[in-house]
Amino acid sequence: MNDAGRNAMQFRDPARAAQMASLLERLVGEIGREPVSVMHVCGSHEQAIARFGLRAIFPRALEVIMGPGCPVCVTDMPEVDEAVALAEDGIRIATYGDMLRVPGTARSLADAQAAGAKVDVVYSVTQAQQLAAKLDEELVFFASGFETTAVATAAVLLGSPPPNFSILSAHKYIPPVMEIVAEMPHTRVEGFLAAGHAATITGCAIFERFVERHRIPVVVAGFEPLDILAGLAKLLELVRDRRPEVANMYPRCVTREGNRRAQEVLWKVFRPVGGRWRGIAHVPNGNLRLRDEFARFDARRRFKIDVSRLWDYAPPSLAHSCICGDIMAGIASPSSCSLFGKQCEPDNPVGACMVSTEGTCRIWHQYGGQLDLRDKDERA
């Protein structure tokens, strides 16, 4: 076990954590069915659950599934293909580090870079813009991330970006994909834990219509181990009482209305359109694309992107056995994947969930490979 794994059980307040654990146990008992399955949609939640070893103290009958909460992982192959095609046409691409190795239909951006294409890693859209300002050539920022990150991209476009700067948007919008998961025929999800910082922007009121329509409770939670445990306890309470409601357990960052100014910035620049999320489905309104007013900064409209030549190559054969999609839909876990930790590792990923530091497989691999200690007990 690595350092992170060894330190996994360190809580700031072990006594309260133990209290929360027995509260969860009691609530699951009162629900009286098993398993009780809830889903979170945030890579940082999964990192915290893994980092602090929370699954070891969850009740045996409680299943906490990571859904499509990793924006890099749900970036679809044709979106990667667009970036690769641009790079291979000699256009300079800047993007977040995690996007480099996400497999496209035939190649990743890292492959293109190794073959001589100009690909730069940046930590933020602002850095990409600054880089463009220093250059005499076109620079395309391959933008990924959920609404929280898309706001930053929007704010940069509302400033005065240099004329050689444009955006290839793979930004995604979380609320619509929750509808998709809730409507999947085999879904077992009885409640959602919503990501604290996405809700900082959107406000928790955004989930009210979802709750009304699907009769599934949503609890907004923070990232402290105790925040997550408290969020889960609230969620189980709502499941037990059959109260489909929205609860805000992260009031220090989240309000009902959210950050109005950020919402204005976001929707001034982006519009939601339907599109495929890798491994999940076509998600109506799930993709964020630039509005017509910003067409001059839209790489899709500025360049003629020809991805067809990439499609002549067969996808790598191992990808056929990749179950990233099922993992993100919550119907499989990394430990049920035949590639996990064998042919598919962080240094040599087959699926996108092993690429991104927010992907379920990458997180489980990093923190010891088998995070659900309860499964281990069962097998023993």
Partner: protein
């Protein structure tokens, strides 16, 4: 990437604030924060932008997680790496 990073505002110059992140001084943009921000306030930041002024009563609780994670020595810690990435996403002080 969803975690963000809290920091203490040292100075405000128009729509840019100089913020102290656990001893590192960087510039962040204030374009999208929805409350006036003053020196001494704590703000939650994501990819170089302040997204929320943290209510003063909540600051201590918010910082605790980060202090605990940054104290971790393991370079493999994904959450700690995320926090360092968020700090790197802000601008070098001019």
């Amino acid at each position: 990437m969803c975690l963000g990073v809290p920091g203490k505002v040292l100075t405000v110059d128009g729509s840019v604030a100089t913020v102290d992140f656990f001893g590192v001084r960087r510039d962040v943009r204030l374009d999208i924060v929805d409350e006036p921000v003053e020196p001494g306030d704590y703000v939650m930041n994501h990819v170089g932008f302040a997204i929320r002024r943290i209510p003063p009563a909540e600051v201590k609780e918010t910082l605790a997680l980060y202090e605990q994670l940054l104290a971790a020595i393991s370079s493999e810690d994904l959450l700690a790496a995320d926090i360092r990435g968020e700090i790197a996403a802000t601008r070098e002080k001019k």
